[in-house]
Symmetry: D4
Subunit: 220 residues, 8 copies
């Protein structure tokens, strides 16, 4: 059965890459998720579920009460997360209040793998002083995940001010030429600040994984 295989393979991948596979729920039918949930809770295996809508969560939770650490804003469900590291090496900075679901997906993913993070929302550069006030705090972290939609100017400004490893996440909220986040994505890829890397639109999970890859090198 496909879903079983998938769960089995996580552990092999974790060994190789340090990243257990998460379950991306939005393309899956409830029956597929049910098989996974049964397996995961039966074996008490840690697992992160992403893009899990509240309705589907409720159905899973009812059947598998152990699946209870759900966050609606980020649509994530964490089961048996890793113990938390002490030091906080990642700052997550976002531009506007509609970027919150993405910054939350990143912080929840980091937490699941045991990495605390500092989250600073709503410091878009159209109100520059909001960002500058928080700069000393931000620059104390080894990795900065910058979440920004619309014209995504935040990571460029930030990238010129700090030396941390920088991962930018474009977000999709907006209308017209926002184009579902493609404008923000393109803007980030041609950022004037050197060394800013980019992940897919709204991909807070991917940004957190990239951060973990870096932290795993730092801690070796």
């Amino acid at each position: 059965m496909a879903a079983d295989d998938e769960v089995l393979l996580d552990f092999a991948r974790q060994g190789r890459t340090g990243l257990a596979e998460a379950v991306f729920c939005s393309g899956k039918r409830v029956e597929q998720l049910d098989v996974i949930a049964s397996r995961v809770t039966g074996e008490q295996r840690p697992m992160l579920f992403t893009r899990l809508d509240a309705g589907t969560y409720d159905r899973l939770h009812e059947k598998y009460p152990a699946l209870s650490d759900y966050d609606e804003a980020s649509q994530t469900l964490a089961y048996r997360p890793a113990p938390m590291h002490e030091s906080c090496a990642v700052a997550i900075v976002s531009g506007g209040s509609s970027d919150v679901p993405v910054s939350r997906e990143a912080s929840r993913t980091l937490a699941f793998y045991g990495h605390p993070s500092l989250v600073i929302d709503d410091v878009g550069v159209a109100g520059l002083w909001r960002l500058l006030e928080r700069l000393p705090e931000i620059s104390r972290h080894k990795v900065v995940i910058a979440v920004a939609g619309m014209d995504a100017a935040l990571p460029t400004v930030l990238g010129g001010l700090i030396g941390a490893a920088m991962i930018a996440v474009p977000t999709s909220v907006g209308y017209g030429m926002v184009r579902g986040g493609e404008t923000a994505l393109q803007s980030l890829l041609v950022s004037c600040a050197p060394g800013v890397t980019v992940v897919n639109i709204d991909n807070g999970y991917g940004a957190a994984c990239a951060a973990i890859r870096i932290l795993n090198q730092v801690r070796d």
Copy 2:
């Protein structure tokens, strides 16, 4: 003859809109430009030529020595510009050294119509302090033309800091996802700073015309 008509009609338009038609040269054959040059110099009519490459200028200048106020960086030729106003109401701010041709097209167009401008190049937000140092100077102007390519973050940052009328010009220089300026254009259209307006890619001339429309209202 079409080219003649075109010259004739400038004066009607100027009466209606306050903006004489300029001659956009890049789509025109030398013979067409020759007819216009002959007519313009014969009647000593003021005229601005834009997107005129140096080679074609040399040929025109040889035949019509009165056509001599040429600027290669902006590819503009001015003939009998208007007398200059005293007060400088427009600041032109650009992000990088490759934006200079566009900011120069804007300042040359303004000058042709009699409007002085302050030009501040190379203050992109990836080096934020360069911009902040010039802020008091910039904010003394009624209209700010912000020229920016790549991710075009400059006008957003500026728009959140000053209250002037703001016209943003995206520029085309760069590679990959710069896409000939479309990324900058899209980014400007979804700017988080409210009230920033936009013109076509590399259109320094159009930005200057928009500024003049505003100044004409201010001075009425």
Copy 3:
């Protein structure tokens, strides 16, 4: 709390740019809007809410009866708008009846900041005489906001006939190659009439802000 910060920061921005930040509602959850509404009505602070659907408005209004100046066509809610200036310096001209929500968002935004405007709908250039009849009236204004969808020919025609500062707003209504307003937007950016500036698709709010930036210069 993010939403609080946002409200707090409006006043700083207003000081710098002359434009208080409005609340763009479509990306926000009801709880976020509730916090803002509570804060705004508690402090009796002026605030404009845009893209607020009728259902959400009803919920807010029920809890905060002081929030009552709602306009469904433009999906705007104004609270404690500025006193109205006497002279009307802005004309808002639109091409078809489906452009009304956008022209109304512009006029409501202007009104919130104290600027009266003349609204002339349904004068698209496919029926040219409708526009020409209103031309003398339109040309008496310092700023003209031209709202147009489909092929967006209206601002080009208008821009060749009047000398006012011109801000064009493309609209999204239509099917096939209308492409959610991108055709209108592109068309406006390459308009043959010089000095026409453009804002994002359907962005009546942004056009009004751009007009206010201009008016603030005129009135200084």
Copy 4:
């Protein structure tokens, strides 16, 4: 041999559709064109060559002096055109001087098939009165080919004023969001004036063929 076949087949097509196939030169090597020229002049068969650059024409003309009716602006070569009809049923109207090559390709194609046409260039709607003055003249024709680039507003305005069959041709000249004529094309396809049809960018030949299809119906 392919090129021979092609020449042979023209006559079959002409019988069926009333339109002899023309030779589109830009994709062909000189040797291919040489075979066609030899065949055409040998049999004294009428033929229209389009997109033939001046250099290649010179080489063909040298070898086949009978091929001499070349027009550089439109890059067309006509050999043994049909006798001209007396009445002029087609008006070709264009917006700017850079549209001339396309309007000329249309008029040369019509002439080759024996149809006179009235050509009116440089009446773009940014200078509306230029167009309105010529309106009575234009509206006396059964078919109007409207050639327009940039924002292509001309056919919309015209389509609301006259009842002729209307064929619009977008043109490619310009920069930035002109996008090689795609903006003009899209704009024409969503024109607010009903019953305006469109052909490919810069396709003056195709517009003329469409006009001939109509005229063939009128004259039956």
Copy 5:
């Protein structure tokens, strides 16, 4: 009131162009349509409503029983159509059964203005003989409207076989690279058959208007 103006202006346009304005319903609110319906039935003015969904029609019909000639497939409502001409000069040919709504919109529009048409559906070229069998019948008409989605090969094949005036309508049905009809549209614009003209995606109404422009010339 905007909606009233719109109704008033129809008659002016009909005088100029021979085409009364129809009411495009999909962008309008029920109240706007109600005003128009009241006006139209009160004055017993002929009117065509397009893109009118069945639910809204039911509401209008209940209040204005005279509005009863509704066709659900094409979402058109005709009120007091013109008397029908005797001769049938237009053939409407479509490729697949999902093109029927568009071919029906075209035939209903033609009928409203008094033009009978022959409709031949489901003769796509992937089953070539279906088309070839109907060819003699099709080629007896002065204008052929070819409706085709997917790869839209039908109009190309047809355009090489008949000499009628040809108007092609791309349709939007399908998935993947069908891209809402853009593939069909592009394909038609570069058709190898000369003289095929194109209208917007799914625009059966526009194709009919273009046909009427032609027929008006034929019948003069």
Copy 6:
């Protein structure tokens, strides 16, 4: 050295897939090609070079006279091709004379691997009878490679008439909405004829490889 490795690896791939790797020349510098040519001729290893322009070929040929089987139309160079099979199982059919370079690249690739093919050019469906006359001949082959640009209607028509395995190759020649072959590509992907597969634009080499994969199955 990278280029050496590349040559070495061909043989491994041939063992696995039955297809030796060819050398795609257009992205490579002359020095890289020189290393490969030296190696190939030294070991007398069969090799196909594609996208090799005539100038570079001349330089290689001068140094390595054994490299002499060059075809300019298709820009291919074959060295020590496989012995030819007797039976001809592939037909290559193209629509217009500008598709010849691509159909030739396919036939040359097939020949290099020992597969004869029948090439039929210039049978586009805008002249339908040209294609129908050749149909019996075409349908005797096991694989048909259909090469078509513009609207690419040929493979759809053909796919409805024959049962062979069908591989379609879109071509890039043309202007305007031809978009460098993307319109043809999209059109082929949504072809109404089922079971037509597609390769990249202008990729005659890839189509031949796909045909060989099929023939290898047939002959097992």
Copy 7:
């Protein structure tokens, strides 16, 4: 009646191409499907229905109980499929669990025409060993249908390892730059593995038809 014609014509096509036409349901109204179902069951003619949603199937099944072989995952309904061949010549390989509906549409289509297939899901190359373990099994088949979404790397890796005829199907599931499958499609078209052919996004039916065209040649 169009729908009747369509059913009639299947048999002609089957004679010519070996592929009976299937009924693509998603664009059709229930009444159209009802006519087809009545005809098909009345004559006991084999028929495959694709893209038939469960709700519509239930209505058809209730009225025509003989229509009962429905598969919800692939949304296919098979009526009187062909007898199954003994040997299994096709492998269907997919990358992730969200590709299952497409791989199932392919296997169901093959089965309807009498071709067994081996289906191997969930062997995406991000977990490379999953694929490599199944390689010997896969490489025993004459045709491999590779179904892959996201970055669609599976068919490239596979194409470099096996010599079978390869048909790749891009799938649409995902968010952001997945772009409804266009990224996967583009990626497949430029695959580094030669001879991989491609069909439309999510087109499992088309891939199966292409496989059958090949198998028909193998078995002749």
Copy 8:
């Protein structure tokens, strides 16, 4: 003078971000580069020049002989690079020989800032074993820069096999749907391997900067 300012500001940025600004040459005129070269060599300041074509380099070198460390493949010029670290923490892996200029730009940038790197070219996944053989070597590095064009499958496969920090660089070489590298870019952004980050097309410099940001954290 703008160019001077630019040089001055490098040092400020280096202090803040650990990355001195490099001089991107392709948009600059020779005179601008001359000013920078004079300044840099006069002050003996370290500087990296990127996208410097050989012709311009020759002119600079002639005037400033100290500028001599030029690499034509990557078009980079290094002046007074930092002393090299001992340990090699970065592996640069590329798929094909046309990716070499980009992988070289990355290694040259790293070297300029004192970071050795291991470069492994030509290990694309269409020949999977080439990559697998080098895997143990690759996985010993803290950061892997994966350079890949076409379908860019290499980083996905690699990302599933190793745990290093991964930065992917799409490249632009190829034709048709390669689209100047956009297909590779999109493909990388939706990679099935989690935690792979991406920079702009052909941006070897940017990838190196991102690696340095990471290494700076590791070494703190």
